[in-house]
Amino acid sequence: MMELWETYGIWTAFTLLYIVLIVGGVLLSVAYLTYAERKVLGGMQRRQGPMTVGPFGLLQPIADGLKLFSKETIIPSQANKPVFLMAPMLLFALSLVAWAVIPFDKGWVLANINVGVLYLFAISSMGVYGVIMAGWASNSRYAFLGALRSASQMVSYEVSMGLIIVCVLLCVGTLNLTEIVTTPRPVWMQILLFPMFIVFLVSILAETNRAPFDLPEGESEITGGFMVEYSAMTFALFFLGEYANMILMSAITTTLFLGGWLPPFSMWLPAGITDVLALVPGLVWFALKTAAVLFVFLWARATLPRYRYDQLMRLGWKIFLPLTLFWVVLVAGTLLTFDALP
């Protein structure tokens, strides 16, 4: 037993510490993402956003959290209780476990596994279960409709997301996220991947059920979709899960397309400026890039009206799928022609 402690004890203790740090950081980011969202939406609609609780309303997310904690959890009598309670926990847990493979800085990654991209894809493809289980277990028509919408939406957009990831993988030749960031990409490769970056941004909006693709919630038609029967903590878990997923998807975009923790535009700027930019810690660049992608989420929400469901499906299957499939062939062909395969 002592031997076991010596081989695994210290490692376990450090891993637990890292997990606590990552989860704490993610939850804090989630809290202030809700604040940022309300401030940005406020700014875009010429309002002030939260401003009463604390200086500049900075304590608003904490007040909201306390409010949700102190409310009563209501479980509908017709609901399937175990599945009803498991759904929000599953969604929340899945939005946290994916962070294990995200590299925050050089060497700052909890699990540097060889199949990091596949792991992220596997975890994000499981997120749909939380929604389906919630919709089915609530035993309510609105919730069920929301779950059905969400399931078909997430499955549809995963297809084109997978193909976009294949484009990136063709260029870098590895499934390890750290190596994806560090593999240098020439300028022509960046230009070749840029359209896929845009398609990926739209796909992650659909994948996280955010506006303009927030039909699973669709409060104007199905009153809140799959989470209509949830209250207090169970609702808070859905809410946290959704926002943690937004941050996660932005972090994945940063890792795949925006060069992770590396200083930006290193190929485009003169050497003097890039040296100065390299002085800034990698974590800061990572956070800034992720925040920039998150801003697109909020921007889209403030700007675009909600899609109709058939338009959403048409965009996914008839436009994104052929486009990304063509782009995989184009990227592969270009790499083969110019003998640039990694």
């Binding site: 199949v115 596949l118 596997a122 493809s125 279960y129 389906i132 089915w136 499955v155 995963e158 499934l175």
Partner: protein, 203 residues
Amino acid sequence: MIIQALAFYLFAGILSLSALAVITARNPVHSVLFLILAFFNASGLFLLLGAEFIAMILVIVYVGAVAVLFLFVVMMLDINFSDLRKGAMQYVPVGLLIGLILLIELAVIYQTWSLDAITAAASISMANMGETTNTELIGANLYTNYVLPFQIAGLILFVAMIGAIVLTHRSRPGVKRQKVAQQYARQRDEAMEIVKVTPRTGA
């Protein structure tokens, strides 16, 4: 090693129990959820074997795509399952027969299976592997030595997909559809008419 053994028994235990629960659960949706749990634990077992690529693909394909559609269909079914269960006992002999055949086949395989040859082959391939990950190895093998079988498997799946679409597709007359290309092709002349209105005439 002890951690690996513990993890193996954990995964294998949950896998067996949830597989049992798939066929015993009264609610079909619960059955599918247990099936998903079984898939997930099977992928854990693959991870223990060091086959990380297959483990991830199992989760992506079976849990992320196949089982979602399964759950989708089962949730939408409106069948009284207690009625369905009444006649189930008459199929027990057939089930037992199939089970027996499978058991015999397994026994035959186990008899002819030489463990030494397999470990020898595995150690050779492990020696050749060197630094390459098993993702690379599977890819290289699949697209060089087994290109034709792989492509034929893809074609068969493709034909099956087209077949499913053809069988279920009904074109109903009189359904109004949005024709996006037509909408875009519309010109200003056919869509609107500019009328000069003389003021104070009301027309």
